[in-house]
């Protein structure tokens, strides 16, 4: 187990190094480079630009810049926003809880509903329920999230007035119920795609398991079918699902961005869009890196959970 852990940690570290190099390269390959916002501003003279270059260390060789930037990322100095000069770390980490709240609630909700639908569809294979959920999932996967969000705002917020149209709290509010009320629409919109994916994966994973000998044995022993389903079927089917949860993370993070922009949910996604319109490089880079780190850590976590849960993985290692 220890060797497996160290192995996976080293792999993640290498991936992180690669991600930082690609991210840094991207920033410097973009037209105008990190100073685009200044070079495009007519009131900034050439001398000013030279001074800003020296100030930001952009006159130094590329590898020195990279090392400084990467070192800064590790030591918590993520630079300063081009606008207002605030610490980037503060701006970004400020938004992180809102994004995690949205992603976590959606994921949990989608897991419960998706696994339930998928299990039922697998048990009642080729039934009307199976076909209906298959078609429903396909359509849910094809809906543009932003459009679905806009429609839900129109119906449930503006027409029916059941839920607020956006933001995380009302003016002056901020209690638990108020937050919950604001959370409903964005969570449903973000969870829809996840439910669709999870129900499909659970279905095929369950079908594989239900065909296997140990399930047949359990049934032959005369165990109640609901018990076989939960104790044998679902438990075994969950292992590949955890791996999939790791792989789905980029989609979840991307979906959160889209949902946040539609519902003006004050998370990282909304910050990213507003930083994009002002071309605030340090903020954009920080969010890009935080997104990638979340994905890498999520995958690492998924692998560890699988190693703990699935006896076959451990055997490999010892």
């Amino acid at each position: 187990m220890a060797r497996f852990l160290i192995n996976r940690l080293v792999q993640s570290a290498i991936l992180l190094l690669g991600v930082s190099i690609v991210g840094f390269a991207l920033m410097h390959l973009a037209p105008g480079g990190p100073l685009a916002v200044y070079t495009l501003n007519p009131t900034v003279t050439a001398q000013d630009i030279e001074r800003i270059k020296v100030l930001f260390g952009l006159d130094q060789p590329v590898y020195v810049q990279y090392l400084k930037w990467a070192g800064g990322l590790l030591s918590g100095n993520w630079g300063y926003s081009f606008f207002g000069g605030q610490q980037v770390r503060e701006i970004v980490l400020d938004r992180l809880p809102a994004t995690f709240l949205l992603m976590g609630t959606s994921l949990a909700l989608a897991l419960v509903i998706g696994v339930a639908i998928g299990t039922l569809a697998a048990v009642r294979r080729n039934s009307i329920f199976d076909y209906a959920t298959a078609i429903g999932a396909m359509i849910a996967l094809s809906l543009p999230t932003f459009w679905f969000g806009l429609l839900s705002i129109f119906f449930f917020a503006q027409t029916l007035g059941w839920f607020p149209a956006g933001s995380m709290t009302s003016m002056g509010g901020g209690g638990f119920l108020d937050r919950l009320h604001h959370l409903v629409l964005p969570v449903v919109v973000l969870a829809l795609v996840l439910v669709a994916q999870w129900s499909r994966y659970t279905r095929s994973s369950m079908l594989d398991i239900l065909d296997q000998d140990f399930v047949r044995t359990a049934r032959a022993k005369g165990l109640k079918s609901s018990r076989v389903l939960v104790n044998h079927g679902l438990r075994a089917a969950l292992v590949p699902l955890v791996a999939l949860a790791g792989l789905q993370l980029p989609l979840l993070v991307g979906g959160a961005l889209v949902t946040e922009t539609v519902f003006s949910w004050p998370g990282m996604g909304l910050l990213f869009i507003s930083a994009l319109s002002t071309r605030d490089y340090p903020v954009l880079m920080a969010i890009l890196m935080v997104g990638a780190v979340v994905v890498i850590l999520g995958n690492l976590l998924a692998d560890i959970i699988i190693a703990v849960v699935d006896p076959r993985v451990k055997l490999h290692d010892e």
């Binding site: 290498i14 991936l15 690669g18 991600v19 690609v22 991210g23 991207l26 973009a30 037209p31 105008g32 685009a36 048990v123 009642r124 294979r125 078609i135 396909m138 359509i139 996967l141 094809s142 809906l143 543009p144 999230t145 932003f146 459009w147 679905f148 806009l150 429609l151 705002i153 129109f154 503006q158 079908l207 239900l210 047949r216 049934r219 079918s225 076989v228 980029p250 989609l251 993070v253 991307g254 961005l257 889209v258 922009t261 990213f272 869009i273 994009l276 319109s277 071309r279 954009l284 969010i287 890009l288 997104g291 990638a292 994905v295 890498i296």
Partner: protein, 294 residues
């Protein structure tokens, strides 16, 4: 119910004679999707001849006309332009971006995967590590980041979307070729002195085609979604040119005045994307003999 499933006899696979295309057609939803897609393609490609109005024609007297009034089948927008006409012209752009982006993902993904698997060595390792790294970035973030710094056009949109979505195909091709490389018929081809490029083109390409075709179809669906979102935010196709995404840019305020304006472009996107997804699903069933009877 439970015992039904357990005791269900193994369905006997139909004879291999039935071609993959026939099997795709038997997949009723895929067939329906093909028809819907054909209508969308004909409507878009034939827009100059079929559209009831000119896409830039202003009808200021009839702004925000509801559907089926004042000679506008799907109504008119804030400048009195005909919505159906603009949807048809927008389809040209949105579908082209989707298909062109898909081609980019196939070309880049296949090249990376094939090169890494066939030649291996440190370049191969490096290429597959690059694939892993690219997969760590949520593609919407990456795409928006690049889109904000590039002058948007049909070609640049397709290229950007393609360059952020090729990784899955690279992985498929890589693992397929690793299996194929040890196959006897490849060894035989190499033994009689066939040049590498010929082996790749004549032996390996046809054998990796099925899974790549499925992934490419699903990539087209994804590319249409991404284009619509980027254009919706204003970083994609610029007005007055219409794309299904940028027709929704004012959707939030349109809802107050004329909800239809916000409905039709979204429906067009959903129809196109659903069609590609169903076709991809049907292709997967048709091309993979193992899951045929599921």
């Amino acid at each position: 119910m439970m015992s039904d499933v357990a005791l269900e006899p193994q369905v006997v696979a139909p004879p291999r004679r039935v071609s993959a295309f026939r099997r795709l057609l038997r997949h009723r939803l895929a067939l329906l999707a093909l028809i819907v897609l054909a209508v969308l393609v004909i409507g878009s490609a034939g827009a100059p001849w079929l559209a009831p109005h000119d896409p830039e024609e202003l009808d200021i007297a009839n702004r925000y006309a509801p559907p089926l009034t004042e000679g506008h089948i799907l109504g008119s927008d804030d400048l009195g332009r005909d919505v159906l006409t603009r949807l048809m012209y927008a389809g040209q752009i949105s579908l082209s971006v989707g298909i062109a982006a898909m081609l980019v993902t196939v070309i880049v993904g296949f090249s990376v995967g094939a090169f890494a698997a066939y030649y291996g060595g440190w370049i191969g390792v490096l290429l597959m590590r690059l694939t892993d790294i690219m997969l760590c970035f949520p593609s919407v973030f990456l795409l928006l980041f690049v889109a904000a710094f590039v002058t948007p056009s049909l070609a640049s949109m397709a290229l950007m979307i393609g360059l952020t979505c090729w990784m899955e195909i690279a992985r498929i091709v890589y693992s397929q070729i690793l299996v194929l490389k040890s196959a006897d018929f490849i060894a035989a081809a190499r033994m009689i002195g066939t040049p590498s490029w010929r082996i790749v083109l004549r032996q390996i390409l046809p054998n990796t085609l099925a899974p790549v075709l499925v992934a490419a179809t699903l990539n087209t669906a994804n590319a249409i979604l991404l284009e619509s979102y980027i254009s919706f935010l204003g970083y994609g196709i610029q007005p007055p040119a219409a794309s299904w995404g940028n027709m929704l840019t004012n959707a939030q305020s349109d809802f107050q005045v004329d909800p239809w304006l916000a409905v039709f472009p979204g429906l067009a996107i959903t129809l196109a994307v659903t069609s590609f997804n169903f076709i991809g699903d049907g292709l997967r069933d048709a091309l993979d003999p193992r899951i045929r009877d599921r």
